[in-house]
């Protein structure tokens, strides 16, 4: 169950997040921001598509319907493969896991992708972003997903 404390930070000890980012400065920003937004959470980190899928396999089993409550990924990653590749794989396996793509590409540049996946738990945030924008996005995604997931399981 998601609850909000008086500062607006989501309190939930079961929130599991996978963050896929290869830029060290961005990793620090995301880590600090997520620390402020989510008081209790588990974050797994990866720098490439390969490492992200390894994390997904390591933290999943055949009984779990949802290995993560949220996946955040940059488009350009270390090695071969992109954040969009990860989205395609995850969405086919775990359609209820919300996905947030963070990228320097503009909305216009990414609009074909956004339009294609808009209704499939695909979310987008353009870099650079303010903390408040990131926080609103995370809150909105987690709350929307909780509602959707509850509907699916009813």
């Amino acid at each position: 169950m998601l609850n909000h404390n008086i500062e607006g930070a989501i309190m939930d000890d079961s929130i599991k997040i996978l963050v896929v980012e290869d830029d060290k400065s961005m990793v620090m920003i995301l880590e600090n921001s997520l620390d402020k937004i989510l008081k209790l959470k588990t974050i797994n980190w990866a720098v490439s598509l390969e490492k992200a899928i390894e994390q997904l396999i390591h933290h999943s089993d055949i009984i779990q319907k949802k290995p993560y409550d949220l996946i955040i990924a940059d488009i350009i990653l270390e090695g071969q493969g992109t954040g969009l590749d990860l989205y395609k794989v995850v969405n086919g396996l775990y359609p209820h896991v919300p996905f947030l793509i963070i990228t320097a590409l503009s909305f216009r540049e990414l609009s074909p992708v956004i339009n294609k996946y808009r209704k499939k738990n695909f979310n987008y945030l353009q870099k650079p972003f303010r903390y408040s924008t990131f926080k609103d996005k995370i809150n909105q995604i987690l709350i929307n997903n909780q509602t959707q997931y509850a509907d699916v399981n009813e």
């Binding site: 997904l56 396999i57 055949i62 992109t82």
Partner: protein, 111 residues
């Protein structure tokens, strides 16, 4: 160069089939992880349980696919193809009812 050309160049998944192959690889890895933890696997079966051999073959095959995808050493050539992945998923579903349910549900969302 447009962003879409650039993304296509660096993308690992260039078709729906490639995406499905990678998804099948993930579910096979999850299924083998589950299978190797089952206590009944070590139960005597008039000799070594035949599922042991199947498990070993599947682990080897998934590892070969993984290396081909991510290591990209052109000197390495494996004799498996995408159909082998599909066949292994099917064979895996015949081993155990829990696995069968998982594999049916996991492949339902493809495409």
């Amino acid at each position: 160069m447009t962003y879409s050309t650039c993304l296509t160049d660096i993308s690992l998944i260039k078709s729906v089939d490639e995406c499905e192959n990678l998804q099948q690889l993930v579910i096979l890895k999850l299924a083998t992880n589950w299978l190797e933890k089952q206590s009944w696997l070590n139960t005597a079966y008039g000799g070594l349980n035949p599922v042991h051999e199947f498990l070993f073959e599947t682990q080897l095959m998934t590892q070969c696919f993984w290396e081909e995808l991510f290591i990209k050493d052109k000197k390495i050539k494996f004799h498996y193809d995408a159909l082998d992945l599909k066949n292994k998923v099917y064979e895996m579903s015949l081993i155990d009812d829990d696995l069968k349910i998982y594999l049916i549900l996991a492949t339902t969302h493809f495409k």
